[in-house]
Every structure is written in C-alpha cells, then in structure tokens.
Symmetry: C2
C-alpha cells in the first residue's frame, strides 16, 4: 500500500470511512513529507503543523460523534496564498501585503471547510499571481521552475505534501504548473468556482482551479467548490451538476478529438511538438487537426488586451502609490499595460463571444479539443515561470481545461491538455477519463 | 374638439375605436400639418405621404374586416433615422450612410408594426446621433435649436406632425429634446426597449425612448415596445408589466421627492435654476434636497469615459477609413476619445454599480428624484444642440427618466425631470402623474 500522503483523495476518503486510518494519521504523513522536503521544494507560504494536526484531530472527533460528514471530510487541502483565510495570513506573494491577515475566509475556502476539508496551509504564489517567479522549485528536478503562478499548489501535490490544492489561472497559472509538475489539473469554466476573497487581477480572466492525483480527485473537490456567487457578475450562470456523478456515467466509447495547434505552436519545443503529435497520431481517425477561423489567429493579442486593461485597473494603484514594493518585472509589465486603449479592450471582449461560438461549433463534432498545455516541460532555471501562450486562449474564452500527466520530454513531465465547452465539465472529464486510460495503456 | 393631429394617442385610439374618424382621417390631418410646417420645422429625414396614407387605409381595412387589432392600431409614429426600416432609407444622419436601405426592420419597428402602428416616416437625427446639430428647428421659435440627437422626433410631436415618436439617448438625446420642445418624453431603463437594428454608439449607454403628448401616451407606446431581446446582453432582464395598467393604479397620494442638483448645477441658467427650485419649494416638505455620496460627484467624467471608450470602438473605423465623410465636430470628438485608457473605462463600469446602489438607497425613502432636464430652455442658434450634462448621469446609470412639459423660461418650454429606479417605470410614471397634476393646478 502507498504511504498515506501518496493516496489519491478518493482513496483517502474511502480509507478514513472504513476506519483504516484517521484524518490525523493522514495529516501526520503529509506533515512528515513537508518536513522532509520543504527546504528543497519550498511549496508553502504559510504552514503551522500544530494547527493542521489540531484540525485533523477535530475532524476525527466529529466522525466519532457521528456527525454528518461532508465529501472532503478530513482531507488536507493547500490554498494558494492569494485566496483569503480568516485564520492564516494571506500575503498575495507581495511585499505590499506583508503580514496581511484577512478578516474572513474566501467563499471557496468557506465551501471547502463546509465540505469537511482541513485547510493545511497557504501555498506559494508568484508575486501578485503574476509572472515574477517564486521561491518554489520543481520536485522532479530542483533546478527547474515549477511554473506559476500557482507554484506551491502544483509542486506540493506533485511532491505528496497534500492530496489536493486550489490555484488560480489568469493566463496559464493552473494548467501550466499541472503540466510542469506532473499532476492532474482542472481550470473549470470562468466563475464555476466562486472567487470572492481571492485577489483579483482581471475579472474577465481570473478563474479558480484545482490540482489532484486523479480525475476523480478533481471532480471530488470541484463538486464542493462549485457554488454560485450572485454578487459576482461573472459567476457561471448555467446549471451545476455533480462531476463525480458525471464521471461515473459511461462516456463516449470512442471519443473524437479536434487537435488544435493554436497560434502558439511555433513557440513550442520540438520535443513537445513531437510528443503531442504522437498522441494525435496514436488516436488515428478519432483525432483531426482543426484550425478555428479568424479571429482565433489573434487570440493571444485579444487575451493580452483584456489582461492589460483589467490588470491596469486592479494593480494600477500599486504602480502609482507604492512602486518601490513591486518587482522590476511587475512594474515594467504594469507600465506596458497602463495606457492600453479602451477600444482594444472592448474589441477583445466582443471577439471573445465570436470565437466562443466557433469553439461551440467545433464541439458539436468533437468531444474535446486536444492541445499542448505548455511550450514544453518545465524550463531549467528560475528566470521565468514558463510561457502561458498555450493556456491564455482558453482562459480568455472562459472554457474548461484539464491537464493529464501522461507525457515525458527530456526526463521531465509534460501534460496533455483537453479543452471543453463552457459549463460542460462533465463531458470534458468523461472524455479525459477515456484518453487518460488510452495513454496509460 | 382639437384637430385630429393634435389629439393625444390615447384619444386617437378611442376616437378610431368609436368610429368617430378613421386612421386615414388621422393620417391626413398629420400629413396636412407636415405640408404646412415642414419647410420651417424640418423634422423629417424621409416621409412619403402616399405610402403613409396607403398604410393608414390598410389599417382601416383591417378594422373593417374585424381583425384583431393591436393597441397602437392606426396611430402614426415617427422613427428616428438611426433605427432601421425595411421599407424606407435609414441614413443615420451621416454622409457615410447616404442612400442606405436596410434589409430588415429594427426589432423596435417590427414591434410597433405588430401593435398596429403606421410608421409615418423617419425623423431627423443629428449626425450619427452625436452632437453635430441637424437641420431641424424648434417649433416654439424657429431661431432656436430643438436639441438633439432625436431632433425630429421631439420637434415633430411638439409641432403636431404625429402623436408619437421614437428616439434614442446616449447622453441626453431623448429627455433634452422633450424639454426643449415642450413634450412628454420617457427614456426607460437601459434595454427595456430592444435596440437590435438601431445604430450603436455605446452599448452601455444607448437607450431607446419615446415622445408623446401625455404620460398615458408614453405608457401606451412603451408597452408595445417593451420586449426582451436575448441576443443583446444589455436587454433588461427584470420583469415587464403593462405601464398603462400601472398608470391606472392608485399612486402615492403624497409622493416624496429627492431634489438632486447633480454636478451639472453650476452649468444651468439662472432662470432654469430658479424654475426648478420653485417647483421644489412648492412641494414643501415632500421634497428634500439630497446629494448622493461620492463618486456621484464624478458622474459626468464616468459617463464620459464609457462614452469615449465605446464610441471609439464603434465609430473608430469611420475615423480611420472615411474621415472625409465626418463633420469636423465628430472628427474632433472621436480623436479625443480614441486613446482613452481601458483602466478609466473599466473604473467607470464598476463605479456605475456603486452609484446605482446609492440611488436605489435614495429610492427607498423617496418616490422619485427631481432634477432639471437641461441647463435651460433651448438655446438660440444652431451652433449646438445644448448641453446633456443633466441627462448623462441617468443614462450612465441606466435608470428611467421622464420629462414633463410644465415650465416656461424666457418664453420657451422647459421640462421637469423625474428619475426612478432601474426597471421601476410603473412607479416613476405614477409619481410623475401626481406631479404633472400638481404643476398643472
């Protein structure tokens, strides 16, 4: 049997339900792993082992008292440090917020606690969830970046510090770390997971997402997180069903995939191009190369216009009032964004719906879009967190993406990204389950 | 008895229902007035008397056949020439669109036809519904502007060319001409009246509105126009009830008014200030001066940021591709708008909801906001269509406004503006009915 900290979340839930081990046993195994590895991996912005153990024991006591238990009861979860927690600091990876202690839990954190999860600690984010690299290192090779901005969430799940973690994506901050660290990652539809109490850098793009060690784990935690938030106009306003139940339903016996290179194709390493092309080849006539019509060719610039305009709105005050507390990298990026014209921003908002219509059209003929999750495996060094250009198109459209840890290039992990239609996480995960099995065999 | 072309719409409907006169009689009276006055007033961009008479006769024939008749059956309506008509040109007041013939009716025009209205012709708009004055003149004094941009709609109803007309407001283009020409005008909640097939210059601001000779007339035509338009994200998504039925219900016996000077107060003429202050004084303790909290003090700039950003998006192509077909005035205004930063635009979108919450708070204590509809009566000359600063705050918020033709300053009409909460046209019109009676007595 695997060590407790290496179990998937669904295995851990079942083991605790059977009485094979307690939440305290599970937490102890996770904390032992953190003690062993944290000096190298540096996944945590804040962790208090005594508090975490006390909460795990409280979870055990609730079980013993026969209380009604939520679906995540006793599971340790890492929370990206741009998401507020009432009982731990939330510093947004920035000197601007040093020592900040929020008054209340973020909506997502409150939802996890309500489902029984134990908030194990706060995971490292890049500065303001932007592109300036963090202290975290890739557990597969400590000389490589873990990606960003959800660096600690991706690396921590990969390195068996905890079974589940929450991150956020504005460019490629959930899916790229999933790919780089070799874990499962889901960036759902914009607004499916509430973002109240999370640092906003772009309301049209910022999306909460999750990491786990199986597709079932992604479904399990997303089900507890997926609640409407009426005060957020971008809260997803379609229906919500159980993704775990959707995953138990039969999926397509022979799903069809649209292989989309995206306008970022030429930026990808030869090794990554070869690996994803080989996946497409192995799928045979179930996978057809497709190129969505214009303005899809301009999608990176369109994403950039939204990001720049909204980021200047949310972070412009930092640049004006406290520039000395920003890194050179963020300062330069904000200066570039500061005067982007409203007309470019408005055009990008409008073209988003035009492209989404084309994607919806594709998804009447295919079960999912297949594409690279990154330009290649995690780059060596810490000058950059890698390139988000294979992620930002889908973040821009607000469509769900999943990364499957099924490829290896130059000895480092590389994911396989599948993309679905807005609000269609169930279909996406069923299709992903099929492909995950196909690639494992 | 008044001449037929001077009847209110509800009187005309009743007269035709009783058989006192036919739709053809009514149209003939209107056309006779046009023939008599059009050389002076210049309200029409397009009118074909034979076609209008033929349609009126067809309405009479339908009545004789015993067909089910809509609530506007046989009523002549003027349509601002930025709203598409399948059977007449729609030139948007611009050389860019000279000779343009749309393929289809605008949603609003189709709704009017479905309700039995006879589209009498297209009324003059300023160039692209913007600030460059039109050829139309104020029927109360031909040396004065009728206002804009809905110049022909306001002047035509005032001069008894037709009982009803449709206009649009992005700054002050419905309420200001209502005030200047001495007619009743309603700019309803953003998106209450569908705008498909109307020229867009700012999707957050552009609002269709109506002119008539009584509050009942405004309710009558708005009821036929108030339909959801799912493909427009700004279509009002609250409920819709009959405003005519709402007007028949008892209103507040002693309504309370919040007198709001607005940040434009210092721009108003002394005569206009005195006239509205006198209204407030006559209302006694039923009218209290209120100043909404900041950022209400910045509302003119916030409206300006939305207008500039969206107008650069919609009209920027005209400036780039066909500048020689734009007037100097529009060209200069577009150049000023062209590079407004996205951050200012986004801030203005966000502050809109902050201010609206404050206005909703006021409207729990008051039945309506009372304020000037313009800086004064219609200015002499044709260099300008007047100042929209008493209108643009409410257009920005998307709240309904009505102008009552109850004041006279320097021998020219001036309206009294009442403002209500989003979607609360019924309450606003009942309150307006009370004030209209109070001011008439």
């Amino acid at each position: 049997m695997a060590r407790l900290n290496e179990l998937t979340a669904t295995e851990a839930v079942a083991g605790m339900a059977r009485g094979d081990f307690s939440a305290a046993d599970l937490m102890q195994a996770c904390l032992d792993r953190v003690a062993e590895r944290e000096d190298d991996v540096r996944a945590w912005a804040y962790i208090d082992p005594e508090r975490a153990m006390a909460e795990a024991r409280a979870a055990d006591a609730a079980r013993e008292r026969g209380e009604t238990l939520g679906p995540l009861h006793g599971l340790p979860v890492g929370i990206k440090d741009i998401i507020d927690t009432a009982d731990m600091p939330t510093e947004n990876g920035s000197a601007l917020f040093e020592g900040r202690r929020p008054n209340a839990d973020a909506t997502s954190v409150a939802a996890l606690r309500a489902a029984g999860a134990v908030i194990m600690g706060k995971t490292v984010t890049t500065e303001l969830a932007n592109t300036n690299p963090s202290k975290t290192r890739n557990p597969h090779n400590l000389e490589h970046t873990p990606g960003g901005s959800s660096a600690g969430s991706g690396a921590g799940v990969a390195d068996f510090h905890m079974p589940l973690a929450v991150g956020t994506q504005t460019g490629g901050s959930v899916i790229r770390p999933a790919s780089f660290n070799g874990v499962y990652g889901l960036k759902p539809t914009l607004g499916l997971i509430p973002r109240g109490g999370a640092l906003l850098q772009s309301h049209t793009l910022d999306t909460l997402g999750v990491y786990g060690r199986s597709l079932e784990d992604l479904a399990l935690i997303t089900d507890s997180l997926s609640i409407p938030e009426p005060q957020d106009p971008h809260s997803y306003d379609g229906g919500r069903g159980s993704l775990l139940a959707a995953l138990e339903q039969p999926g397509p016996s022979r799903p069809r995939f649209a292989f989309v290179e995206t306008p970022a194709w030429d930026r990808a390493d030869a090794g990554a191009q070869a690996a994803i092309t080989d996946v497409a080849r192995r799928l045979g006539d179930a996978c057809i190369k497709e190129t969505p019509p214009s303005p899809f060719d301009r999608i990176l610039d369109l994403h950039g216009a939204i990001f720049a305009g909204e980021n200047a709105h949310y972070y412009g005050g930092f640049l004006r009032d406290r520039p000395e507390l920003l890194s050179d990298k963020i300062r330069a990026r904000l200066k570039d964004s500061y005067d982007i014209p409203a007309r470019d921003y408005i055009e990008a908002l409008n073209e988003r719906e035009v492209i989404n219509d084309a994607i919806e059209g594709l998804l009447t003929r295919y079960d999912a879009i297949l594409c690279l999750p990154a330009t290649g495996p995690a780059p060596r060094g810490f000058e950059t967190t890698g390139d988000a250009d294979f992620n930002s198109p889908w973040t821009y459209l607000g469509v769900p993406c999943v990364s499957l840890p099924r490829l290896t290039v130059d000895g480092m992990p590389l994911g396989v990204q599948l993309v679905g239609g807005r609000g269609a996480e169930g279909r996406l995960l069923r299709t992903a389950r099929w492909l995950d099995g196909f690639l494992a065999s």
